[in-house]
């Protein structure tokens, strides 16, 4: 559909969230010191709402594909639809992969499908970039272009509103009084911000020499036997799985059963391919016994497997894994090493 655009003031938007929270669970980003994190809308915390900024510290995948979800029975407590507001383009991109895994193929995952249908996504442009941002290298941009119902672009004390789906259209129609026409100047303001943030991201990419997808294509396969590279980068890995868990595209899960007084329960819980137990079978066989093999597997899955089966690099350039790694393993440096065949030993060595 053709994307319609409006304008809404910040005050009206917060009033809209308050009105919507009667029928929806509304989550949006709050500033918490240096970090941004999703929280449920609370009119008393308006001063801490930060819709612009950068991606939140936690990936948005957790709302659709929760870290732990009960999957044996279907009697789930809170069925109110969810609105996620302030979602950044790098997280929106991850839905290409999450949707592919959980909705496509011979069998659809009904729990994911229900959560996905039950969620309205309001995106928001980034208003600055962080040193770890590299979305532009991964075919993304610091402003949403797809996978949202409504997008907000901060412009002074207002937001430019872009509507991209029927779900989004319904909200606009139900609350027409909040939405005004915008001027051509407003769109110029939006464009200027987008260009500014893009320049910032590009600066960080260039400063680091982070390769882009055209250079990365085939690089894992080509450098598969650069064993020293994989060993060097894995040498500081503590197998915590943080890189997997904060990654918006990582989707692997573990089935876990539990006996309780209320009956037998089965959960789907996030799993991490960096763990030694991930591919190990009961008899003890394990195709990836060594840590460096597991690190290499992580890159193979993201930069080789998914491009091969989906024509999609399972990395959105959000940079969360770089920040989360206690061993200072920097995905950009690994990629650079793969592409150039040259790398520096990690700082801990």
């Amino acid at each position: 559909m053709e994307k319609k655009t409006y304008k809404i003031t910040k005050k009206d938007l917060y009033d809209l969230f308050a009105r919507l929270s009667a029928n929806y669970r509304v989550f949006l980003p709050y500033a918490d010191g240096q970090r941004l994190d999703f929280g449920e809308f609370d009119p008393k915390k308006e001063d801490r709402i930060e819709l612009g900024g950068i991606r939140q510290s936690r990936p948005v995948k957790g709302f659709i594909n929760p870290p732990r979800e009960k999957i044996l029975d279907t009697s789930r407590k809170d069925k109110r639809p969810v609105i996620l507001a302030g979602v950044k383009a790098c997280d929106l991109a991850s839905f290409i992969l999450q949707d592919f895994v959980f909705l496509k193929g011979e069998v659809e995952d009904p729990f994911y499908a229900e959560n996905r249908n039950n969620t309205i996504i309001i995106g928001c442009d980034c208003t600055y970039a962080k040193e770890t941002c590299f979305c532009l290298a991964m075919e993304g941009a610091p402003y949403p272009q797809k996978n949202f119902d409504i997008n907000l672009s901060p412009a002074g004390d207002s937001f430019i509103v872009e509507v991209a789906s029927e779900k989004g259209e319904n909200i606009i129609n139900n609350f027409k009084m909040f939405f005004k026409n915008h001027s051509a100047t407003d769109l110029n303001v939006r464009q200027a911000n987008r260009e500014k943030v893009s320049r910032e991201v590009r600066y960080f990419i260039d400063k680091r020499g982070t390769p882009d997808t055209s250079a990365i294509r085939g690089a894992v396969k080509k450098s598969y036997n650069l064993t020293e590279l994989w060993k060097d980068f894995a040498s500081t890995c503590v197998e915590c799985g943080a890189c997997n868990l904060v990654c918006p595209t990582c989707h692997c899960f573990l089935l876990y059963d539990e006996k309780t007084a209320g009956g037998n329960k089965r959960f789907r819980m996030w799993d991490a391919c960096m763990y030694n137990t991930f591919a190990r079978v009961a008899g003890g066989a394990n195709p990836r016994k060594r840590l460096y093999e597991r690190l290499r597997n992580r890159f193979e899955k993201k930069f080789d497997f998914f491009p091969q089966i989906l024509n999609y690099f399972a990395c959105t350039g959000c940079g969360r894994c770089i920040e989360a790694c206690p061993g200072d393993i920097d995905l950009r440096e690994v990629l650079k090493g793969l592409v150039t065949g040259k790398w520096n030993k990690p700082p801990h060595e």
């Binding site: 999957i71 959980f102 899960f253 089935l255 079978v281």
Partner: protein, 272 residues
């Protein structure tokens, strides 16, 4: 809701001790579950957990399923404590079975090791069902000792099938009671047993056994695309979503677990 993670309850009808650490469980699911030889299912102890197994029974028998299970980890140890009358869960079948149509008119050369004979028992039953469609059926089976041979009481009845089933068992370590071959199963894979130009080979067993058997078969002249291997990886969800059983560009749970050697030979760590 069509819940792919939900299981069907099944009653254990019979438990047979095969060896010290292998038992065969005969289950009757509440609602019939069909499968094709080579496909696998997840068997669960409700509230405890589940694990993937390939049924070892005849896929033409629809109301009961056999699972031959080795005690190897947490779930299998607990399954081994189950008795007739207990209820377990079954979901599946998953993956691709043996392509029986492609085997027709050919000599079928089967090599099994240890509990790897379980999926091959389902295959043999399927072959016996249309035994004249196959030019020859050869089974070479290796076990650690004579005490580790599974289906001991059945194997003679397999030998009798239609007169053209050739079965040989080898044990790694012999004893006074053992009259057959002593040595790894590769020692009984000899030239001339089948016409490699019109034969398929099916291998299932521990990874190290599959590796050396595969190399031996290639030495004997089998083409890479006629050697069928059971790549039993850590299959969990069964539907290509949980990620555990990925091997190169495949998920063993949906693209396998049976692969021809040519498809996987270039992938790393396939024998681990």
């Amino acid at each position: 809701m069509n819940n792919p993670y939900a299981y069907t309850e099944a009653e254990i009808l019979k438990v047979v001790d095969e060896t010290q650490n292998i038992k065969t469980f005969t289950l009757r699911p509440k609602t019939g579950i069909g499968f094709r030889a080579g496909q696998f299912m997840d068997v669960s102890l409700p509230g405890i957990g589940e694990a993937p197994f390939t049924p070892s029974s005849n896929h033409y028998v629809k109301d009961v399923l056999d699972f031959t299970i080795m005690r190897a980890g947490r779930v299998t140890s607990l399954i081994h404590q189950a008795k007739a009358g207990d209820i377990v869960g079954v979901r599946g079948p998953y993956g691709l079975g043996y392509p029986l149509n492609e085997f027709k008119g050919k000599e079928v050369f089967i090599v099994g090791g240890g509990v790897g004979l379980a999926p091959l028992r389902a295959l043999l039953y399927a072959l016996f069902n249309e035994v004249n469609d196959y030019k020859k059926i050869v089974l070479k089976y290796g076990a650690k000792t004579s005490k580790d041979i599974v289906y001991k009481n059945e194997i003679d009845s397999w030998r009798a099938k239609a007169g053209h089933v050739d079965i040989e068992i080898s044990v790694d370590v012999g004893d006074d009671t053992w009259k057959g071959n002593v040595g790894l199963v590769t020692t009984v894979l000899k030239p001339g047993l089948v016409d490699v130009n019109n034969a398929v080979a099916i291998v299932c067993g521990p990874p190290i056994m599959m590796k050396f058997v595969t190399f031996k078969l290639l030495d004997l002249g089998f083409k890479e695309n006629t050697v069928y291997l059971s790549m039993e990886k850590n299959m969990s969800c069964g539907i290509g979503k949980c990620g555990h059983c990925r091997i190169g560009p495949y998920y063993a749970c949906k693209d396998g677990p049976v692969f021809t050697y040519d498809k996987i030979k270039d992938l790393p760590n396939i024998w681990d």
